[in-house]
Amino acid sequence: MKREFVCIECPRGCDLTAETAQGGVIVAGNFCPRGKMYAEAEMTCPRRIVTSTVRAAHGMIPVKTGGEIRKEKIFEAMARIRALRVDRDVRQGEALSADIDGEGTPLIAAASYRNGER
């Protein structure tokens, strides 16, 4: 499979072409090794940090995945995030879920929340 995309590692924005071949990835167009790594990851197992919000009793708490999750798992994680409900105090950095993508990635609160306040 061959793909073309723009590298996002730095402002140079090299136009990359990547092709999967014999268990590896052949990358062309990259100016530096970071571009090669980015392309390899994009072709074999693209991952993303997902940010969203969780509904609390009084408002929404911004949240983020504890690390990059597999791109195919994004919408599944989003469904789990939407199903969460919080009705207690939360500290920024706390995990609201130990596993939000079915592969052990926690969901982290990006802000503190006080349940008493409206």
Binding site: F5, V6, I8, C10, P11, R12, G13, R48, I49, V50, T51, S52, T53, R55, G59, M60, P62, V63, K64, K71, I74, F75, M78, R82, Q92, A110, A111, S112
Partner: protein, 411 residues
């Protein structure tokens, strides 16, 4: 009531300015914030990507804001939330209002940090009806991220700046279908990273050189008519296409919020839509400083914080030493440059000039002419959507009548 330093706005600019002023010796500070909580627009920017330059981390907006809130709180700096500034005088009298009433603060120095507002759809002269379902992207972002309401399920976005791109992803993640993003220019205004992660990741088409020419729908929007535009940005007859949707987001520009600034008698630079400042971010009124988006719209909050610290330190120096006579040289925007800030620079020290280019291209050469001295700097790529900066040495400024910044393609 007298106050040494009044900072108007408790967003990233106001908070950083407060910390810097405090650390430079000012103790009697009030940050005036109209919302119930400080943090400004960052409260609703729940996506990450903030702080890469300053903290070497990719933080979410709320996390970035909290860093500064923690610093403000650790120093015991007062933030008056739920308080609106209704007037600013050239005499540095700040009229405020909140639930306790109307009051005036007589400030020794003022820092303007009011941020910006979004250009509305009404300013674009789009034909059609005025149904429900039309939102500026930031307002939609507030509904989604602060209140948890999804405006609609079938979305068209006008404007490919970062706010439009971020909302394309946000709406998609929450289950809406973003039919397309239209952009009137030949290139997107947003970061490449965002095109990739907000549009390409979800297969959302980006139609460059397109705009919305008509809105349809009696009570709720039902469709928009988009058309290609020519070089003068006028719709090309015959290229119209109807796209069915129930929601339209407009991400069509940010305007510095300078009503108070104008009320104080300060003139605005038509290129930045903010006031004229020197390298200390001091305005034409001695003791009044400006920083952040109210001065010129930034792309990276990291530079907002840096600029606010300049203003905070300068306000502290002003309070300690009073106004000093200074010799300035004007800065100028040359070829391919839209504006240069500060608009005037004092001699005797290095000055960091911020500027934006008029068009995007690769292999750029930045040319800085200070009198006879000409220095050039290379950039891999430049774009209007990415604010640039270059430092001019004090020695080069010494005899120059002005400093001119141009950007050309490498020969």
């Amino acid at each position: 009531m007298k106050k040494q330093l009044v900072i108007i706005g408790g967003g990233p600019a106001g908070l950083a300015a407060a910390v810097a002023a405090y650390d430079a010796g000012v103790r009697d500070i009030a940050v005036i914030e109209r919302e119930e909580r400080a943090g400004g627009i960052l409260k609703q920017c729940i996506h990450n990507g903030f702080g890469l330059t300053r903290f070497k981390e990719s933080m979410t907006g709320p996390e970035y804001a909290q860093r500064f809130l923690d610093e403000v709180n650790a120093r015991g700096i007062e933030i008056m939330t739920g308080t609106f500034v209704t007037g600013l005088g050239a005499d540095k009298k700040v009229t405020c209002m909140n639930e306790r009433g109307v009051f005036t603060l007589e400030a020794g120095a003022v820092i303007l940090a009011m941020g910006c507002r979004e250009r509305s759809k009404g300013a674009l002269n789009i034909a059609g009806t005025r149904p429900a379902g039309l939102f500026s992207a930031g307002t939609a972002q507030k509904y989604v991220n602060i209140y948890g309401h999804l405006p609609g399920r079938r979305v068209v976005i006008l404007g490919s700046g970062d706010i439009g791109l971020i909302m394309a992803r946000r709406m998609t993640l929450e289950g809406a279908k973003v039919e397309c993003v239209c952009e009137i220019m030949e290139h997107s205004g947003g970061l490449r990273r965002n095109i990739a992660q907000c549009l390409d990741d979800f297969g959302i088409p980006l139609y460059l050189e397109h705009t919305i020419v008509e809105i349809k729908g009696k009570e709720r929007v039902e469709s928009v008519v988009i058309a290609q535009v020519d070089k003068e940005k006028k719709p090309i007859l015959g290229t119209e296409r109807e796209i069915f949707c129930d929601t339209v987001l407009f991400s069509v520009g940010l305007i510095p919020e300078n009503e108070l600034t104008k009320g104080a008698g300060l003139a605005l630079d038509p290129h930045t839509k903010g006031c004229f400042v020197d390298e200390n971010r001091e305005t034409d009124i001695p003791g009044v400083f400006a920083c952040g988006n109210v001065l010129h719209v930034h792309d990276l909050v990291d530079f907002v914080s840096e600029e606010a610290e300049v203003a905070g330190r300068a306000a502290a120096a002003y309070l300690a030493c009073g106004e000093r006579e200074r010799a300035y040289i004007p800065t100028e925007a040359g070829e391919n440059v839209g504006y240069v800030l500060p608009q005037r620079a004092g001699k005797g020290k290095d000055v960091k000039l911020y500027f934006r280019v008029r068009s995007a291209f690769r292999n750029a050469v930045i040319r800085v002419e200070a009198g006879a001295a000409v220095k050039t700097y290379r950039r891999i790529a430049v774009a209007p959507g990415e604010m640039e900066n270059v430092t001019v040495k004090a020695a080069d400024l010494a005899d120059a009548p002005s400093v001119r910044v141009s950007v050309v393609r490498e020969a």
